[in-house]
């Protein structure tokens, strides 16, 4: 039988390894910054443009509506600094099918603030920032640092970033419930000009989570004693998760003025999920003032090792999940966008403006997640769940 010390030792070793990994990563980041300062002065990279974006967003699907504003302001200060701030709100009504099976509908609001600073030195751009997200039952705080460097005649840009976040998870109606989670992300990227008309990038990101990782409102279901119905119990997730994602993106300028882009992402994690994402899109200007775009996206994933739609009995295994996001499924999206540009506005220092409307339509099809709200059938024989979702992004942007 294991004693307390034996149980703690692997956890301590894991924490030490994670701490050592974080320290090494920060050292590498600092080294990269110092190397950038040691490089001879040359043509400069550029800071983000001064701009303001005001967006209204709306998601509808699976009987949920989420909507709200997002406002981003970016402003340069002097020649070397740029600052940005973002305010974002999600107003959520109703609940997804995962919650409807065992709990009541609700309304809530999530508010997110972020602040960032960017510093330019020769061909190097460094940035750091902080993000805070508040819900009545969930708080998340994240800070991040990053560096990017132009090289090889400015044909290549290499970037690295690190972020760390802390979550506090609570549950409405359970005042004594409070859990925490710690999240770290390590990312490296490379963007390469390949020809006069072709640019490509590759990005790799590892994310590690530790703590309470499941949703306190979600339940798994298991057959009751008689086998003619089911009962529910709270999910149990592992306390750690590590994921690796690699994304390849390419964009090509067509012989006439239009652009074609493609993206592929490969994903794996320690929950056992393997996912592929494919995307291809086309951008086509019309005259001097309009830009039309069209994109399609396909996403597919395998289930987590501890997922099941219906467990044979309560506590059938050590970890139990029935989130549809942990099941085997796929979705297909089509996205259409239209942009109207306004030049030479000449009002309040505004140089240029755009009005943008983007609409996404997505079909989700689940392979082993059933609609447990259907009654009058033997558990495990309900129809497979599927739903359609639409996303609207309407925003104006100003450059000044």
């Amino acid at each position: 039988m294991l004693n307390q010390t034996q149980i703690l030792k692997p956890q301590l070793r894991r924490e030490r390894r994670q701490l050592a990994g974080g320290v090494v990563w920060l050292a590498v980041l600092i080294g990269a910054i110092l190397a950038a300062f040691a490089a001879p002065a040359a043509e400069a990279a550029v800071l983000p443009e001064d701009r303001v974006d005001v967006m209204y967003h709306r998601y509808e699907g699976d009987e949920i509506t989420i909507e709200g504003p997002s406002v981003l302001v970016r402003k340069k200060v002097g020649k070397n600094f740029s600052f940005d701030a973002n305010y974002y709100v999600d107003t959520i009504s109703s609940a997804s099918i995962d919650v409807r099976v065992a709990a009541s509908r609700y309304e809530e609001e999530r508010t997110q603030y972020s602040f960032g600073a960017t510093y330019l030195h020769n061909k190097t751009i460094m940035n750091a920032g902080w993000v805070k997200s508040d819900e009545n039952d969930f708080e998340a705080e994240t800070w991040f640092v990053g560096v990017s460097q132009d090289m090889f005649g400015d044909l290549t840009t290499v970037s690295m970033s690190y972020s760390r976040g802390n979550d506090i998870i609570r549950a409405t109606g359970a005042p004594d419930f409070e859990e925490t989670a710690d999240r770290q992300s390590y990312s490296v990227g490379l963007t390469q000009v390949l020809t006069r008309s072709l640019i490509a990038s590759v990005q790799f990101e590892t994310i590690t989570d530790e703590g309470f990782l499941n949703n306190p409102y979600r339940f798994y279901r298991f057959l009751n004693d008689t086998g003619d119905g089911f009962e529910t119990a709270r999910e149990i997730y592992p306390n750690t998760r590590t994921s690796n994602a690699t994304a390849l993106t390419a964009k090509y300028y067509l012989p006439y003025r239009a652009a074609l882009h493609g993206k592929y992402r490969f994903y794996t994690d320690t929950f056992g999920i393997v996912a592929d994402t494919f995307e291809i899109g086309y951008t086509h200007p019309v005259g001097n003032d309009w830009i039309l775009s069209l994109a399609v996206r396909h996403y597919t994933q395998t289930q987590a090792d501890f997922y099941a739609d219906l467990f044979p009995f309560q506590n059938a295994q050590n970890f139990l999940a029935r989130d549809k996001e942990m099941s085997t499924f796929q979705n297909n999206s089509i996205t259409g966008g239209v942009v109207r540009e306004f030049d030479n506005i000449g009002f309040a220092g505004i140089e240029k403006g755009t009005v943008n409307l983007t609409v996404d339509y997505t079909q989700y099809e689940y392979e082993n997640f059933r609609d447990a709200t259907v009654t009058g059938v033997v558990p495990g024989t309900e129809p497979l769940f599927e739903f359609d979702a639409s996303v609207v992004r309407l925003f104006v942007s100003f450059w000044f």
């Binding site: 090494v24 990563w25 590498v28 080294g31 990269a32 190397a35 490089a39 974006d53 967006m55 997002s70 981003l72 973002n86 999600d90 959520i92 997804s96 809530e108 999530r110 997110q112 997200s133 969930f138 998340a140 994240t142 991040f144 090289m151 090889f152 005649g153 400015d154 044909l155 970033s161 972020s163 992300s185 490296v188 490379l190 006069r196 640019i199 990038s201 790799f204 990101e205 590892t206 994310i207 590690t208 949703n215 994602a245 690699t246 994304a247 300028y253 652009a259 992402r265 994903y267 994690d269 929950f271 996403y299 994933q301 942990m326 943008n356 979702a389 996303v391 992004r393 925003f395 942007s397």
Partner: protein, 77 residues
């Protein structure tokens, strides 16, 4: 788990060092980058919009990361 990342970072640092020592002749000259400079060629033209759609995807899919966004809660019960 972090070993590949550390190796990759070391490679990137080495690359940065090489650039500091001497310049490589760019095969696409600065005056040949007019097409790439066209706004329709931006890899992320509208950060607010792309950050939002990445959040929508990450809230409803098991996969995450390598999309250029960071932080935040879920709003996905």
């Amino acid at each position: 788990m972090l070993k590949p990342l550390i190796r990759l970072s070391a490679l990137l640092l080495l690359t940065a060092g090489i650039t500091a020592c001497g310049s490589i002749e760019p095969w696409v000259k600065p005056y040949e980058r007019d097409l790439l400079a066209d706004p329709i060629m931006a890899l992320d033209a509208d950060p607010v919009s792309s950050a939002y759609i990445h959040h929508v995807h990450e809230s409803r899919e098991g996969a995450r990361g390598a999309q250029g966004s960071a932080g935040g809660g879920c709003g996905c019960n």
